[in-house]
Symmetry: C2
Subunit: 384 residues, 2 copies
């Protein structure tokens, strides 16, 4: 297998792009990434997306975006793994280059959600939980998240307020990210006074639906500097799965797919949690950041929230997370979220994270969670 | 890159499985293929599916099927490329094994359509055409097919009746396929008297929506005989794309993605049309078989229909097509169709096609078409 690096980064601002179509969003991210890679073409395109069929009546979007981007004819395939679609697409693109099936490929994550009503989006997102055994009973994606958070509070003796710093940290970091949706800091008081959406999840525990697209260009590391002076090496890309229905898991508070994919990624890279300089958690809900930190070995069971409380998740903390705002404040265009994470970790590895730069960051990790843990993709990037 | 072979085949009967869930269908095909490969586990699962979100409210189905099949924890990813989802999933699975990222993987194609009304299914299938520039104007997938057929008749001087043998051949072959949906021969008179659905497409030009799942197990060729006494080698797997909207193409009657993917596959395998013993065409509409035969070089422009008229597409003809009934008579569970084609070509390569066996078949090809040609996947299999 060949060593693979990221040689181009592109993203659109995350927000409500009512005047921009799905294909246009995908194209803009791809165009920016190609420019960053000083490339005009790629051999293949892999697109991570969850909801285009349900929300815009359009499947078949990989071919659509390839054509719209002037790449008519190339191999183009869409990848879907609920909210983990973005990083799952990266996994496929990585495999194509690592395995020698292609040299230069693009991976785009794209989602367009805000043209639809919140009710429609809530129903659409619930296609990521078990349709027969969860959604059919009236349980939404948010509802499962709320039950996990309530159970965690019960098991480990936390109150809702103890999760505040996950959201405060994300919003603080989004201020320095020009592509973030909510570039406004929030206070403890604001967090504590927020009304519940699905108790105990409030508006500030939950990431906003959004529109956006992010893209990376991949190439073999041995030719990476032909494209970019600051290539970022993919040390590992690992996918694992679990039951889609949370109630079927041995322990709902232990995300096995997160643990397995992290262990696979660490084993591939010959690394462990202590080597990682920053972690992009999938903070669709604050509870998911806590569970991810614990499943990956950055904290003991029940210790994820404590890391946040102690300020160890900040840019200068022991394990900085959501360094560019996370899903919470950068915004969560679901099928694109995993690619935004990758772009942001790569920015950190390049030293291009501006005021949000984690000093001396050399190894960064991202964990993209599908549904409430049914699919988890872990990626480790390294500064070259 | 490693040489890859198919070491296990599985399929459910194609039909109306009202009492069987999507995950159960996927599991049954996977279980049969694992048994055929004398294997208990695979390292990864790739699932081709187009419509589960829209028709059953369930995305995230790769993780769902992996768990339901007792494979909890493995890498599992869904692949979508409209009606070409099945063979696109094969392409990803092939790449994983060829590139050395995995040794033993399963590729499942699954679709469940018949619980929904025909109107709902027609709307769902139209997510494979251009939502903004075709579907928004009231044009369905079937409508685009009808315009292509009408244009072909005009350009090349054919009548509707001239397409009859595509359907008659498919139905004749389905009689010998125990998994086919319509195991009934049809006559010229029946074809000619069929009422139009989207003029000039009649019921017998158009493949039926169906439920079903098909699966192949892949392994490196060098260890293939550990799993199966009759491995089938994948000589090539190639994806190409075109505009999704048919009116944007340079020539709507020339399927460029079919031509490019066939050329890529032929080049990879060092073969040409004359070497191919049988071809599974994507006969969602009879016109697509004609266009596929022409784009791949089996016939000159306008010659595809003539091949059918002259009986050269039969099991003992010059280029047998739809040898187990095709989409038309085996049935068309769209996201699974590409995998059914692969399973059927593999059956032919093994000499396991029963009364439908193409004598001395050594090289077989399948062409899986997404939308009306926006994505085309060409696969070439070889008897070992």
């Amino acid at each position: 297998m060949r060593d693979v690096s990221i040689v181009g980064l592109g993203q659109t601002p995350v927000g409500e792009h009512w005047d921009t179509s799905l294909r246009e969003l995908g194209f803009r991210a791809l165009e920016a990434a190609l420019k960053d890679a000083r490339a005009e073409r790629v051999e293949a395109l892999y697109v991570g997306n969850m909801l285009s069929g349900h929300l815009t009546g359009q499947e078949h979007i990989a071919a659509l975006i390839a054509d719209f981007a002037g790449l008519r004819g190339i191999e183009a395939i869409k990848i879907e793994a609920a909210c983990a679609s973005g990083a799952a697409a990266l996994r496929v693109g990585y495999a194509m280059v690592a395995g020698g099936l292609a040299d230069i490929v693009a991976v785009v994550g794209v989602e367009k959600m805000t043209d639809q009503s919140p009710e429609t989006v809530t129903a659409a997102l619930s296609m990521g939980v078990d349709a027969d055994y969860e959604a059919m009973q009236g349980l939404t994606h948010m509802g499962v998240g709320a039950m996990l958070m309530r159970r965690y509070m019960h098991e480990h003796g936390f109150k809702r307020e103890d999760f505040a710093n996950f959201a405060i940290n994300a919003h603080a970091n989004a201020v320095g990210n020009p592509n973030a949706m909510y570039r406004s800091p929030i206070s403890v008081r604001l967090f504590n006074e927020a009304k519940p959406i699905a108790d105990p999840i409030s508006m500030f525990d939950s990431a906003p639906a959004a529109d956006g697209a992010a893209c990376v260009i991949l190439a073999p590391t041995e030719i990476a500097r032909e494209f970019n002076d600051k290539p970022v090496r993919i040390r590992a890309s690992a996918v694992a799965t679990d039951t889609v229905a949370a109630h079927d898991r041995r322990d709902p508070l232990y995300l096995e797919a997160a643990a397995i994919s992290a262990q696979k990624a660490f084993a591939t890279a010959g690394l462990g949690p202590d080597d990682i300089d920053l972690l992009e958690t999938h903070d669709a809900f604050t509870i998911l950041s806590a569970l991810s930190l614990e499943a990956c070995g950055f904290a003991a069971r029940g210790g994820g929230v404590r890391l946040a409380q102690n300020g160890e998740i900040g840019l200068r903390g022991r394990i900085p997370i959501t360094t560019m705002g996370g899903l919470k404040a950068r915004g969560n265009p679901v099928g694109a979220a995993g690619l935004y994470q990758i772009v942001e970790v790569a920015q950190q590895m390049r030293g291009d994270a501006g005021v949000n730069q984690v000093v001396n960051a050399r190894l960064g990790m991202a964990q993209n969670i599908g549904g409430t843990g049914g699919t988890v993709v872990t990626t480790i990037l390294e500064r070259l």
